[in-house]
């Protein structure tokens, strides 16, 4: 007599109850796998998006907006997003499998239009860059684009943020705010927005007409203030920088306002010191992730011995291993990409954790301004490869799904 036979004999009540339940189920002995929760998840967070360029809009020589629609046409829907989120654009360029994040400049309501939703991203050409010049030279109507779903935490959350938003924008950092402005004017986002847009010259300003038009619709909900740092005297707007004085003048009372900052890295350091002078509480400032530090070698903590060096990076994949060269002043992620290893990445700013890898041995420099690793990862030797730099020969292990490494 085993345990089961024994309990069958002993626990008659339970047995009877179980049989009753099973009998009831026997009337419909099929497993209900219908799962609306899973369906919602697959709409909200698809593993990848196949998109196609449906329109291109020029903004001067170095700015271009691409309208992206689902490849399936109008029947296909796009995941909803929140104004301020970005897409990670994936592609293979010159043998390298790379990704780049681009904020969605169109409004959330436009993604859901019954007549055919779309996202727009606005790309500024970086002449010394890799991906943006490629996008400029190869993307046109009908170009296929692969992207992640919308990601990022840079959006207005009414439970946390003030209803009055002050946007501190620089250069192409205007894009998330254009999305917010459009959503506010459309009436789908309850907030008031003042954009302080820092540009070198007015020529550099993106979406000038569009922003003026939108502000004209509802001046009580949207105001745009340009701040030109290299004025030629013809400007009718403010000149100089978005500093304490300008903020006091344009914004007045800063209490109960949420500041959202997006732009080039120099803007972050600058605004940070101005914010301290203004004593803006920390919870009232939201920073968009800023991308990799472009001059990591100049970071005071960067080991000088590694400047200009290249090291050997041994990469353990799920199956097998590879040794690839890795430049000290480039993130480990870039070394993987240059070698054509499709490691997953998204924010490229050390924040999202998708590029997590195990550091098995070797010396690395982790950008302290872009180190958003979790405490356990720090303790157990995991890194975010997009914000970690090899400063000696290194061995890492990465998650290498077959579907990605192919």
């Amino acid at each position: 007599m085993n345990f089961f036979e024994f309990t069958v004999g002993t626990v008659g009540t339970v047995r009877a109850l179980a049989q009753r339940a099973l009998k009831k189920a026997a009337a419909r002995p099929f497993i209900d796998t219908d799962d609306p929760v899973r369906r919602t998840v697959s709409i909200l967070h698809p593993p990848a998006l196949d998109l196609v360029v449906s329109d291109v809009f020029e903004h001067g020589p170095d700015g271009r907006t691409f309208r992206l629609v689902p490849t399936g046409g109008k029947g296909d829907r796009l995941p909803p997003f929140r104004a301020g989120q970005y897409l990670s654009i994936k592609g293979t360029w010159g043998g390298a499998c790379v990704s780049r994040p681009y904020s969605i400049s169109s409004a959330p309501y436009e993604a859901l239009l019954a007549t055919g939703g779309y996202y727009e991203i606005t790309v500024k050409r970086q002449s010394d860059g890799l991906v943006s010049p490629h996008i400029f030279s190869t993307w046109q109507k009908a170009t296929r684009v692969s992207a992640s779903g919308p990601h990022g935490e840079f959006y207005h959350e009414p439970l946390r943020d003030a209803g009055d938003i002050v946007a501190i924008a620089g250069g192409s950092g205007i894009t998330p705010f254009l999305s917010m402005a459009r959503e506010i004017i459309h009436g789908d986002m309850e907030a008031r927005l003042v954009i302080l847009y820092g540009v070198r010259t007015m020529d550099e300003a993106l979406f000038e007409k569009e922003l003026i038009r939108l502000a004209g619709v509802a001046p009580d909900r949207l105001r745009v203030c340009y701040v030109v740092s290299e004025p030629d005297g013809t400007e009718k707007c403010a000149t100089g920088f978005i500093d304490e004085g300008l903020i006091k003048k344009e914004i007045g009372d800063i209490s109960d306002k949420s500041f959202f900052v997006c732009g080039p890295q120099a803007l972050y350091a600058f605004f940070n010191s101005e914010a301290q002078k203004l004593t803006i509480p920390r919870r009232r400032i939201r920073w968009e992730v800023s991308g990799p530090n472009r001059v990591i070698g100049a970071h005071p903590a960067f080991p000088k011995k590694a400047t200009g060096r290249e090291y050997a990076l041994v990469v353990y994949l799920d199956r097998g291993q590879k040794t690839v060269p890795a430049r000290a002043e480039e993130p480990i992620l870039v070394a993987l990409e240059r070698a054509g290893i499709a490691a997953d990445s998204r924010c490229r700013s050390g924040q999202c954790g998708i590029c997590r890898a195990e550091l098995i041995s070797g010396e690395v420099f982790i950008d302290p301004e872009n180190d958003a690793r979790r405490r356990v990862d720090k303790e157990y030797g995991f890194i975010h490869s997009c914000s970690t730099y090899p400063v000696g020969d290194c061995t890492i292990r990465i998650v290498s799904p077959e579907v990605l490494t192919g």
Partner: protein, 523 residues
């Protein structure tokens, strides 16, 4: 090719046991197998281990995703099975912190506002002083819970294969009460109603009405929390996941992340392997599933007609357990400044479990809420000058499925606003004014990260007919496909970390037992 079209020779690699899913159950099973020298390959769809046992960052805060307290760990001199497993069997090197503070229970309509400690004598004393005249009945009741706890310990210690004579002789009360609900058994003790309400502080662990809930699982939950104290890892639950994951590889196991099992290949009623989303086929005679029977029998078994009718019948008869709505907050003041004096709160109007359950079955903001302020237990959990507060509410498995994708963010926000407001008012604190980060997780979130069916967190409901004893009875049913075992929240015991760990370890032992028997036959 065999008759199901699966070629036995078309495998890319092979292993002894495939473990599907790296929740606490899967990780424990894989670690135990690797420890015993069995070839094990762990496959996880997410890019890192843990399932629910994880954490995430928002701004300068890091939030624990799920763990409140770890039970069945125990002090060095009275180790629980989790501690024995981690320390003595796996040598995991993961010291735990003891959680000294118990619950703060506020039931506003019943005028209950009381601190209940996590130890048996302390608990009884507190209730007795709150509810004069309850001491004797409560003591007797708790003694029964202790007996049930000892019986469950015995089953665990016998590695799932207890001696019936020992059970009959030493653990009669387990068998005597197994056919009754928590309400039926509790009523017999004539404990004053207010004391019963205080006991209800353990209700969220099970989450179904008292008059349906199996007494066994109820007593097990009470016993786990009150006899061996409660513990917490020095950092968070992701530490347990990471330590186990590393241990598995250290012991020679293989782990593949961002790899989903799409098919469990069955031939003539027996497991022959699995196929992944990348199309790779891994040959194995055994599969341990951390995914629920609903998912496995309903979607993964290939060919589908290999699912035995009895397995379908059982799965169809079971009721999905609850899921949760969780609000994670990072606040820009220390806990004491906000008057958050306790590690964990349970806040509700009363302890009407049927009412709470019914509300949870509708798409309306819940009132019964638990609130966790981890700063009291985990040093450095948030930056200096800040604290975290995490709210939990339970919802039926079918509630959040009603929310359309376009309404999803707004619905989450509406529910979060209601939950935070409710907690502000009940505790008398100010949260909105100090909100630096807020994130909420709905069943959709859990489904996304763990793949769980409908985002269910609590396995199947522990109805009397489907609790520990009957599940032990139905184990052979689940074994209808030879080589397939289940671990985790829908396993034998109450849902939760220690139960998942225990089911993982037991499934490894079960498989090793069967392997031995098989090799004896073939020798």
């Amino acid at each position: 090719m065999n008759h199901d079209g699966v070629s036995h020779s078309s495998f890319d690699e092979s292993t002894d046991v495939v473990v599907m899913g790296s929740g606490m159950g899967g990780l424990s099973a894989a670690a135990k197998l690797a420890r015993e020298g069995v070839g094990v390959t762990l496959l996880e769809q997410n890019n890192m281990p843990g399932g629910f046992a994880t954490s995430f960052r928002r701004g300068r805060f890091e939030f624990e995703a799920s763990l409140h307290i770890l039970t069945d760990y125990g002090p060095a001199e009275n180790k629980g099975f989790v501690r024995k497993f981690f320390e003595d069997e796996l040598n995991l090197g993961l010291p735990m912190i003891r959680v000294d503070q118990g619950y703060h229970l506020i039931l506003s309509d019943e005028e209950i506002d009381v601190d209940v400690p996590f130890d048996m004598d302390g608990f009884i004393d507190v209730v007795a002083s709150e509810v004069p005249g309850s001491f004797k009945a409560l003591r007797q009741y708790m003694n029964l819970c202790l007996e049930i706890g000892r019986a469950i310990d015995y089953i665990a210690e016998a590695d799932g294969n207890p001696d019936p004579m020992v059970l009959l002789k030493n653990h009669k009360s387990l068998l005597a009460t197994a056919g009754y609900t928590a309400k039926e058994v509790t009523d017999r003790f004539h404990i004053p109603p207010k004391a019963v309400s205080i006991l209800g502080v353990f209700w969220p662990y099970i989450g179904i009405p008292f008059d349906r809930m199996s007494f066994t699982i109820w007593a097990t939950a009470i016993n786990s929390v009150l006899t061996r104290g409660c513990y917490y890892p020095p950092i968070n639950s992701f530490q347990i996941s990471t330590a186990l994951d590393k241990k598995i590889r250290e012991l020679g196991g293989r782990t593949y992340y961002s790899t989903r099992v799409e098919k469990i290949l069955v031939d003539r009623g027996k497991i022959i392997g699995v196929q992944t989303n990348g199309g790779r086929r891994i040959r194995a005679d055994w599969v341990i599933s951390n995914a629920s029977p609903t998912t496995v029998y309903g979607r993964l078994i290939h060919p589908a007609h290999a699912v035995p009718r009895a397995a379908k019948r059982l799965t169809a008869a079971r009721k999905n357990g609850i899921s949760l709505f969780v609000v994670y907050m990072g606040l820009d003041r220390p806990a004491h400044e906000l008057g958050l004096t306790h590690h964990e709160y349970y806040l509700g109007p009363d302890m009407d479990t049927q009412k709470a359950y019914d509300i949870g079955d509708m798409l309306v903001p819940h009132i019964a809420t638990s609130a966790l302020c981890p700063n009291h237990v985990v040093p450095g959990v948030s930056p200096p000058g800040t604290c975290e507060l995490i709210l939990n509410q339970s919802y039926g498995a079918d509630v959040w499925g009603q929310v359309s994708p376009d309404d999803y963010f707004e619905t989450k926000r509406r529910f979060a606003r209601a939950a935070v407001g409710h907690v502000e008012r009940t505790i008398g604190t100010s949260l909105f004014d100090h909100m630096e980060e807020i994130e909420s997780a709905a069943p959709q979130t859990f489904c996304r990260y763990t793949g769980s069916h409908k985002g269910v967190v609590y396995g199947y409901e522990h109805d009397v007919w489907d609790s520990v004893i009957p599940r032990a009875l139905s184990l052979p049913l689940e074994g209808y496909i030879k080589g397939l075992e289940f671990v985790g929240g829908h396993g034998l015991l109450v849902q939760g970390y220690s139960a998942a760990i225990s089911t993982g370890r037991l499934s490894a032992l079960t498989i090793m037992g069967k392997m031995k028997r098989k090799s004896r036959f073939t020798e």
